[in-house]
Symmetry: C2
């Protein structure tokens, strides 16, 4: 019934959708098998994309030629560039999406992707022969063959949902869990474990009193995510969100449910996300905090459903309800659906290569929550990497990997495969060593050439970044050459509380002053304005960043170079660590298990000390 495929992707969540799109777009005959075609790219939790470090990832996916950025741009109801007041390394785009529109647009884009077929069924096992994956077996009993398989089962593997003392099977509430895959993989030698995550209640927006909350408007300018010309909404059309707070009374009420909480009563074995804690975790762990912020976010353009961001909980529903009603603005709140926690199987990601292929079974890839991450962006970026490599493997081409200095995606995968994770892994800017290099604004410069070479980013994207790079260079030349006289600039400097100049100075030098912004400077000097008038806001902004942060950027680049010598020092695959008695026990055991491919990778394994690396270097003849 089915042709042979190059790549089969299991699951149409964020990881699966990006994986399928990438594999198909670079030429693999691809099949996306998912349990329910009506839930393609469903957002399980909050209807938002991006945010700190996550927004960078979405732009990186976009720069490579993925779809997440375009879909977000097409479905957003509000956009904000977070951290604008900090340095540009911290700027992070975030969008509130229309939940239904987001899924609809994803499905539309996938349907328009050549080489990509769809099939609705539950995959319950893999075809494996001689250490190679050969396809999948579905619930209806079909054996579908392929050269590679990407598993992106999300929270569905043996998922169990908890609300207070109630528990029942499910991959998300009102959706079935998936079984069979974990059991088979474990029998093949994989290690699996349990994690948990949670979601807040949804309420009826008609029952809230917004006058008691703070309004949170969208930005006045919508930068968006995609580097393409995807149309964006007008700033004035945006929906607003609201902010409110819990207080001691709310916390006390929540505590009355602790004895019936699945977490505290020990019914949940899985570890939850420390960085995205439930409200009960927050009041427990940060007992001295008097209040916690709640973001009150609409679920779409035309719905009254409201997402209560910050109130994730698996307490009994009556307690959720009673506590929520004590929050200012929520006095008369009606629940649409309760919050809940879900426990699911994941596979510790140290079982993967940096291509996301498993070490145990060739051509089998894992991407997304199945690897112990949490978040749509984290899932999606693994999807695109796995999809690309599933294609490349089948064509005996060199693998596609990203270094920690290339992208947040590189950081994420490197962390996962080396350090593993014992709690749901979420991206933070602090995880990246080179964050001045890995900015959201330059993701296209960093990654589009790579995506283009892979055949994933289009010619059009490539031309855009070529042009942009050239334009930025031109702007910098203009700034370097423009000599400003005291009489034409001192008034402006005075106005901006910046010391005045005595003799001519280059525009770029003025720009280096922390309180001077390029846009203001340009506005003040008509001659300069004339010279840059044909460049876009984006180009000007980036030229300004490059000028202002040049020293930092150069320093980071130098560091990258120094590290990359060691980074690239390959460790022979047959290397026998057990013979190195001078290594600590822990180091020997970990190195033997993880088998890092390079010395750099070895250095980032948790528990490996610099002294261990020194010993290795000696034994490798360095």
């Amino acid at each position: 019934m089915f042709p042979d495929y190059d790549v089969i992707v299991v699951g149409a969540g964020h990881a699966g959708c990006e994986a399928a799109a990438a594999a198909a777009n670079i030429g693999s005959k691809t099949l996306l098998v998912t349990m329910n075609m009506q839930t393609i790219a469903q957002m399980s939790c909050n209807p938002a994309m991006g945010g700190i470090a996550k927004g960078q990832i979405v732009r990186e996916i976009d720069a490579l030629g993925g779809y997440s950025g375009i879909v977000t741009d097409l479905s957003m109801i509000q956009f904000r560039m977070l951290n604008r007041s900090k340095g540009p390394a911290m700027w992070s785009p975030r969008a509130q999406s229309d939940r239904m529109l987001f899924a609809a647009k994803w499905r539309e884009m996938l349907e328009q992707t050549p080489n990509l077929d769809f099939y609705q069924d539950m995959v319950k096992g893999l075809l494996v022969k001689d250490g190679f994956v050969k396809g999948v077996v579905t619930g209806l009993g079909h054996e579908i063959r392929s050269k590679a398989v990407v598993l992106t089962n999300g929270t569905f593997l043996n998922g169990i949902i908890h609300i207070g003392e109630k528990q029942f099977g499910g991959g998300r509430v009102a959706e079935k869990a998936a079984s069979g895959i974990t059991e088979q993989l474990v029998s093949l030698g994989f290690e699996s474990d349990r994690l948990k995550t949670g979601t807040p209640p949804r309420v009826d927006g008609r029952s809230l009193d917004y006058t008691k909350m703070e309004v949170q408007d969208g930005d006045e300018e919508i930068v968006g995510f995609s580097f393409t010309d995807t149309p964006k909404i007008k700033a004035s059309e945006q929906r607003c969100c609201w902010i409110t707070y819990t207080d001691q009374k709310v916390h006390d009420m929540l505590k009355t449910g602790f004895d019936r909480s699945p977490m505290y009563a020990g019914r949940i074995d899985g570890v939850g996300p420390r960085y995205c804690p439930s409200i009960e975790d927050k009041i427990n762990r940060f007992a001295d905090k008097e209040r916690h912020q709640l973001f009150v976010e609409p679920e779409g353009w035309n719905t009254v459903e409201i997402y209560v961001n910050g109130f994730s909980t698996s307490l009994p529903e009556d307690v959720q309800y009673a506590a929520l009603r004590m929050v200012p603005g929520f006095e008369n709140a009606r629940l649409f659906r309760p919050g809940y926690a879900i426990e699911y199987d994941y596979f510790p990601p140290t079982q993967l290569k940096n291509t996301l292929e498993t070490k145990l079974i060739r051509n089998l890839f894992f991407a997304g929550q199945i690897n112990g991450t949490t978040g749509y962006e984290e899932a999606a970026c693994q999807g695109i990497v796995a999809g690309i490599n599933a294609h490349l493997n089948g064509n005996d081409a060199a693998p596609f990997t990203l270094k920690r200095s290339d992208a947040y995606i590189g950081v994420l995968i490197d962390d996962l495969i080396n350090k593993g994770t014992e709690e749901p892994y979420r991206m933070f800017t602090s995880r990246a060593e080179y964050r001045t290099l890995l900015r959201q604004d330059n993701a296209d410069a960093r990654l589009t050439p790579i995506g283009y070479k892979l055949g994933l980013a289009s010619e059009e994207r490539m031309n855009k970044i070529r042009q942009k790079t050239e334009n930025i260079a031109n702007i910098r030349t203009i700034l370097k050459e423009a000599s400003l006289k005291p009489e034409e600039i001192n008034g402006f400097l005075l106005k901006h509380n910046s010391s005045q100049i005595q003799e001519k100075q280059k525009a770029e030098k003025i720009l280096l002053r922390p309180d001077i912004e390029l846009s203001h400077l340009v506005d003040a000097i008509p001659a300069l304005k004339e010279q840059v008038k044909n460049y876009t806001r984006e180009e000007l902004e980036q030229a300004s960043i490059l000028a202002k942060y040049e020293t930092y950027i150069e320093k980071e680049k130098e560091l990258v170079n120094r590290m990359s010598d060691m980074e690239n020092l390959a460790i022979p695959q047959a290397f026998d660590y057990s013979k190195l008695s001078s290594l600590g026990n822990e180091a020997r055991e970990k190195l033997n298990r993880i088998r890092p491919q390079t010395l750099g990778q070895a250095s980032r394994i948790s528990g490996i000390k610099p002294s261990d690396i020194q010993i290795l270097m000696v034994y490798m003849g360095r």
Copy 2:
């Protein structure tokens, strides 16, 4: 956690949505509880509304003030008035809908309905006390109280899905079944039984060769369903459908799967819809038919998913696939999802009053597929009736019922409660005795005044029909008065192959000729055209129908009057049939069980003979 409600509606299918909207709109504090708020008003099977007799029902729902017509108008991708070549009693509007948009628009409208709350949970039982329903119990353990409950569980009660030799629980594919309710109701004395229905496979439109099929375009004029000013798409924007045919080869291939068919192997106990048969039923029952028509219908504006109308099947998937690929245009077809059959519990509807309240438990209503019907329209119209009566019951107001001469809805409910049904009940024009009265074009005249009195149809709707009625009367006066001279009309008559006149004749008389249409006549006579120029196409059409079919209409009205004497003859509720030894055994048993409220109702119970009615009349002193 929950306030006390006036009405709780269980299930947000077509029946549940109309029930909730109706109850809330006429003033009941209403709660709609459904398993998954993401599947509100999901179309389980074909993405189409209306059709023969069903289109009339949608317009009737609309005339009363329901939402189905508006939602269909807002989500249609193609419109056709079926049977235009036949008499106006047969004209039936039908629309192909965008599946996702249909559900989205329903949800939007429900969210905008005051008095209506939502809650996502599975209802697993009822609160019953002293023969009265008092509320529901949910899967999460909540007891929610109300004065009335409307059950609209559709195909979900102990649903089992069959595909070839595979079977698994589910209310629709990829959705959970519901349990608990049947068991409780049976323990309370209700009778339940099993029915089955089926759905065809969905295919990838990109894999079809449309050049081998016949194109089926939408109408050039979009009449639509709602009598309100709901905006409609432009005719030119419509999507086309296609027609293709099975042939002997396809049938032979399908037959190879019969031994693995759940129907023929006896794995399905439920009775299927005789009037909406599976393709295997068709080739079995109509063995001499060489081919069957298939309608190839897009699922929406922006999707490549295609619905293969006419190919409903539960044969093994490999057989579905192999047979489908033999259909012209489907040579390279790829399946998205296989066809399947579903078996589910229903409650024989003779257990209901004509308000759709159960006879056994006060204030408990059943509506939709749970009553043994099939089809969105049949479900929706029961929903609105049940929703209205749930409200009226709670307010001790007189019940709302529709007679067979009022509406198709009246025919449907009267059939159900009196005759019951042993197979999925579907509406046909042939079920209605008074179909010249029950036209789609006059549903507003028939029902909007009733809906308005109930507080359901808006003032605006009422004003519209008042104006329309007046305008139609004016047009008829114009036609009755306009005297046409031979010289001004004979050319026109000649052109339309109609015999010429010798002396002046009234326009209305000319119109009575079968080959003369009002629009043509008006176009030919400038003076007439001038007189009617301010009336709408709809008003002209209806005036024309009233003129042309006056004799039929009058005859039917007379019949209605004659029958209604008997119809309205109430049978005392305590009437003891067992004493009437002159009644046949079957009649005695059935009358005792069904307990008809009027003699008319008694006369329509299947198995009751005219002689039985005579006997009853004698005993009742007539």
